[in-house]
Symmetry: C2
């Protein structure tokens, strides 16, 4: 799938790290989602990678969009999607931004707190709202904290409040945590959501939407369940908890839409050991790249995400190494506790490919930390 | 010291978070360093805050500069300093960047590995080099990993090698760790450095420079030893380990030069609790700001640095709160384990001041994560 990127990279000179995203891979991911979850609307999580070419492709394919800010909403509109395909999915919004989104035609808003609901009622009167509930996040590689969502009982009261404020209480959302590989996570969340639907229906509030969030994993170094298995698990849970009256569902894939579609090429800047008197295990190789945590690989924080890393010398003898970035910041170490096998023949100036880096890299890069330019991004 | 910033902020509208740096505070910090350490050359660590106004002021005051990249070197030259006042202090440099620095007139280079020394010998022939040695970092709030530096015995061999490669083996450097409050840390490091000076002198290599690095703390919420105490501890350690032949010394303050000179103003976007049925301690307030880890406060990572946070309502009753940023990333939480006392009357739309944020904020901000613009920076 990424052969095209490799061929492309062979033709361009290296003057700093570069991310290349293959639109064909994005297209394939989109089509896999729509084929395996035909009854579910796809809202691409723009924050994963807002490159205009990606947004245009997805708009053309019929995707909807989950936006975190007014800037993202404007990018989606510029890419050719209409406002009715946009969800303002951030639960933390300034009232002025809600008003701007409303003025741009956006109708669908997320919330998880009474004060946010009040802002929406004032700034986007009559808008459709969905309430995010708290999920345990068990089984996710990048578990969510309690930052987003509220207790389900509180959500029940807030949906009544939404109605009282003149808003349309459309549904509920949850997020099982990023890179979620435990399929039962969706069942646990949908059991809670189903119960809330019934209790609210008893009060005359008929919800219509379940936002299943994201959490669909991209493949990094470990195998992950195929999309079909997710689709089946979600389908079974919907049947179990909603019976013959399934709600409209939407998903918000970000990482799973673009993660495997991108490759970062980086250059080895230095290879060293700290002590010449010791054996190699106590005295590991440090491999310093021209990209690090501040250049776009912030998801290596706590070594949570382990990207596949390749070089041309991977047939040579390997030895585990520590991998670090180029800045003068000692926190700019990518993998230290869990060392990476890298070829012993690896040399300064060699290129390495960091795969599955299409999501959460280009926009995470720092403006100019240590004077280094942000990650370049190309789409082919 | 920051009264000028408060007055300035009162006059400008809030359309997103802003960092304001007071040049008078930077000047005062510089003068304190030069008064308390008159025999030591000051190399400002540009990465802490490369605002052109700060670089121009320090150039005018006579400071030298520690640069992490060619871009930083170019900024320092543009600010009016000459190349002989620049140290290329990053131990991880591309050979092409060493050559560019050399072409710009830079003569002084850091290294900690044989391969780096070879690059310098090729790209900056005849250059002056100092070798960074590993320090334990004990007592620092943001301890350094083993990323920088090499074992002292290895440094000894590398300084001989430097001479053989036609470079000028000028001295040694170390870094005791950022926000170092244990004054004995400098004594331990200088004992090692003194020993290396003597062993190398016995081999005919007479070193002249000790780079004492940074680590001088800025005051956040806890009191830190006054600069005089640092100066005295370093002076005593130099006497103890070098006797009557003290080397030339340099320091590389970054945080201590600009940290307390800056204040970020942010707006409260949302205040909520996750559950309406529980008492307040189990059900803390979440206070969401329009700045977070990805907007410039990355040093809140692991809650390492606790900035003083003020509002106009600080005379009201206080309750500990969780503080989080505005992005859809669950890792974008500033303080959760260690909650912050904030006024119970704090309201959405209120401004809060995050003090002592002049260092490691503006350039750390992400390019556009979630579509949010990078931190604005103003210098007065």
């Amino acid at each position: 799938m990424t052969e095209r990127i490799r061929n492309f990279l062979d033709k361009i000179p290296h003057d700093g790290p570069v991310l290349v995203v293959d639109l064909e891979a994005v297209r394939e991911n989109y089509l896999t989602f729509s084929r395996t979850m035909p009854d579910t609307s796809i809202y691409y999580a723009v924050k994963a990678n807002p490159a205009p070419e990606i947004l245009s492709l997805l708009a053309e394919l019929g995707s909807s969009f989950d936006c975190a800010s007014v800037a993202e909403i404007e990018m989606v509109l510029a890419a050719g999607a209409t406002a009715d395909r946009i969800s303002f999915g951030n639960t933390i919004k300034k009232e002025a931004d809600i008003a701007r989104a409303h003025a741009l035609g956006v109708r669908l808003f997320a919330f998880d707190a009474r004060a946010e609901l009040e802002k929406i009622a004032r700034a986007a009167p009559g808008g459709q709202v969905f309430c995010r509930i708290l999920c345990d996040g068990e089984g996710a590689e990048w578990p969510l904290s309690r930052k987003f969502g509220c207790d389900p009982a509180m959500a029940e009261g807030l949906m009544e409040e939404a109605q009282n404020l003149g808003l349309e209480p459309l549904g509920l959302s949850f997020h099982v945590g990023s890179q979620q590989t435990d399929l039962a996570a969706w069942d646990r969340a949908l059991a809670t959501v189903g119960g809330l639907f019934r209790r609210l229906a008893d009060k005359g509030i008929v919800l219509r939407l379940v936002n299943l969030g994201g959490g669909f994993p991209a493949r990094y170094r470990r195998d992950v369940p195929a999309m079909e298995a997710y689709s089946q698990a979600i389908h079974d849970a919907i049947i179990a908890h909603f019976g013959n009256h399934p709600p409209k569902t939407i998903i918000e894939p970000g990482r799973a839409m673009v993660g495997n579609a991108g490759i970062i090429r980086s250059e080895v800047v230095l290879i060293s050991r700290k002590d010449q008197s010791k054996t190699s295990e106590d005295n590991p190789r440090w491999v310093f790249l021209d990209i690090g945590k501040f250049g776009g690989l912030v998801e290596c924080m706590d070594e949570a995400i382990r990207y596949p890393i390749r070089s041309r010398r991977d047939d040579d003898a390997m030895e585990p190494a520590i991998i670090a970035g180029p800045t003068c910041d000692s926190a700019d170490v990518l993998y230290e506790r869990n060392r990476y096998p890298l070829p012993l023949s690896l040399d300064i100036g060699d290129h390495i490919l960091i795969e599955a880096t299409g999501a959460y890299t280009s926009t995470y890069a720092s403006v100019a930390f240590n004077g280094f330019a942000p990650l370049k991004s190309l789409v082919i």
